[in-house]
Amino acid sequence: MKASGAAPEGAHGATPGAGGASSPVPAVRMTGVDKRFGAVQANRGAAISVASGEIHALVGENGAGKSTLMKVLSGMLVPDAGTIAVGGRDVTGWTTAQAIAAGVGMVHQHFMLIPTLTVAENVVLGREPASVGTFDRARALHDVDELSKQSGLIVPADRLVADLSVGEAQRVEILKTLYRGARILLLDEPTAVLSPPEVTELWGVLRRVRDAGTTIILITHKLDEVMAVTEQITVMRQGMTVARMATRETTPEGIAHAMVGREVDLAVRGARVRSEEEARDEGGEEGVRGEERGALSVQNLVVRGARVERAVNDVSFTVRAGEILGIAGVEGNGQTELLEAIAGLRRATSGEIVLGGKVVTNESVRARGDAGLSHIPEDRHQRGLVLEYSVADNLILGQQHRFSSRGAMDRHAVASNGATQIAAFDIRPTDPALAVRTLSGGNQQKVVIARELSRDFIALLAAQPTRGVDVGAIEFIHDALRKARDAGKAILLVSAELREVLSLSDRIAVMYGGRIVAMMPRAEASEEILGPYMTGARKSTAA
């Protein structure tokens, strides 16, 4: 990453939508878009202009209004104010059906495919080729195969979607929109579920599709993606489009600055530098000392998954106090089951879990919490938060027995704890009585982090701690995790973001197919070294 921050000013810094675009008729031109949901103004005067045949990044923190703006474009939402023009035609307030007919196709973050149907059937769904009133399967297969070859989106048309990898499934999603004649492709955070090689492949696909004349808008908050594949960038912050720039002429720092409105340190900070004395201590009597200091250890753990008998297959490791052990890996390789088993949300088939010297393998969730386990779950909407509950109530979830006496909730304690955490973790808005549902993704995650870090704990399970969280909050959360580590907590980090694992961990393990296939100190790890382990191409027995 370049350190030079002198992104050029002037020429391209023109007001978006006010004539900044170069080509005569932009493929998409939205101006002055307002959209309000109750108390939340999701878009205010947002504007974007996308030239035909370019890959355009729409970046911004979570809750900045990117998805809202794109839903307005795709007809899913009607704007309160503003105009939308596609190919020079005013289409303000159109419906999804009209948008699809006009060639605007959206690829959603969550796949909308039917697993029990084949690729071809999924692609043609809603526009099935028919002969004499019946579904012409052969033609569907042929058409999809043809389109697949034409666009370079290689997928086996006759396979069941259920049997596809995530990367393949995503290609099917893109193919689906192309089949419907999409000339403008909207992609909502398409890399969230992909492994590094799959991401590289996706970029190739997008370039091919672009070269065939399709305009692409990429919604993302990952700056390396923006740098890798886009030509123009529109930045959103708090509902407004605050900057527009050419990718060639800016730097990740420049984009981040525009996203958060202040300087952001993007440097991948390495693990804490240990003093020689510490290193010697650990070399000498590591296991024993670690346990004495309250570590988390797992021995020969086997956990059942939803479909697999051994989603976690004979895993053993120890997290020492004052250490972050990062588990890298493509999602779905047993990380979820591993953490749920440690947290007490899933039964271990066999093996042992030891927390601070105490065996907790068969303890309840609450007992583990009382024994010193803290847990940032990967799915905050399902697990981490009760969305209808207030911020203050969510800040005590899991500790309700500490905030009540003789069965009755201590409302004053709940309120004052709420006020304290909101201030300490800069949660916004600051109203503790607000339903957590109304907060932005980043602030919701801060509620979870605040709760789990402020309790008394020995070990922390941090699963995807910054998923769907904006740049500013990522920085904040990473700092909070480092502080907890430096305060002597044992942290087990699971993240699909390799950069996050590399940036935070002291040691790194790779999980593949339910096993730990590699374990190394941070100093020996890099994306290039970990990549082959993540895809299963390499295995070591070092675990």
Binding site: R237, A258, G261, V365, V386, A408, L434
Partner: protein, 370 residues
Amino acid sequence: MSGHTGAFAEPTPVPDATARAMRRRAALEEALLPPLVALAVILVAGDLLILAYGEAPGAVWRLLAEGTWGNAYGIGQVLYKATTLTCTGLAVAFALRAGLFNIGAEGQLAAGGFGAALAGLALPAGTPSLVAIVICVGAAALCGGAVGAVPGVLRARFGAHEVIVTIMMNFIVLALLNYVVAAKLHVPETLHTPTIRAGAVPRLASSIEAFHGSAASWTIVIVAAAVIGVAWYLFRTRAGFELRAVGLQPAAAEYGGVNVPRAWRNALMLSGAIAGLGGVNYVLGYKGYYEDGFAGGAGFLGIAVALVGRNHPLGVVIAALFFATLSQGGLAINAMVPKQMVDVLQGIVILAVAAAVPEVRRLVRQAARR
């Protein structure tokens, strides 16, 4: 760093005071909208029905108002019906707060009444009134709770769906009670038990002469206490905090250290106990004996009461009064139009509230935005 943002003003956040005001507004909307929608629908649909029957709507409505809230007897009758409906509505609402649909309030209500009668029969005649009432009321809750515990335990242990189990329990309980009363306990020539020896709750008329002849009793106070108790339990206790979390998001509750199956079991058991409490109104407060079939659909109507009352204890009371008024009003207008008209209206209200409230709320919001 570069100044890409220069030309744009910093956005101003929505102030907290505004947010609070909007929240209060939303809460008020939530509480008032269902009854208002129900009322509007009743007036329109009722007019049409009355006209179709060839009567003047104004005259029929006047008759209905006079027969319900127009005199002390009418008020007493409405209160009596509302008391039972409050219990069954509260029971359904309570279970729904835990995410469970208890359709078994009918059987639980009957079981509660039977329990109260059994206790009243078993106690010696000289038992001090207060002691006897406490024991009989406890027996009602216990029997209702026992019936509710069956689907509760089955759900918690085996994952059996509570809708199926509660609805089947209705048949089992009602048939069983029918057998026990008919075979062992009935007064000859009737289908009711002998009169209780102790535990009778005095009628309202015993203190307030104007209510003379109406069935309303001081059970109202017992049920009012239950309403307050349930509200307190749901919104002020740890168990209530956990129960509502289970209802909203079981996965989050589990993560928060709640034993979800146990919460299910307790919720259905307590729901049954609340429904069982309703039996007190008839057995201890009105007739003094258990009679086969006394529940008469009040358990099922409780589902509608919970729906219109939006699962809130206070809303349930308002909804219970509403449905009680309709039911009593049906008798009042029987001279002009058949009382079955009220049954039709009840059905329409339930459909309207279920279907129309979200739609009306959307329209209100839209109008407010302009």
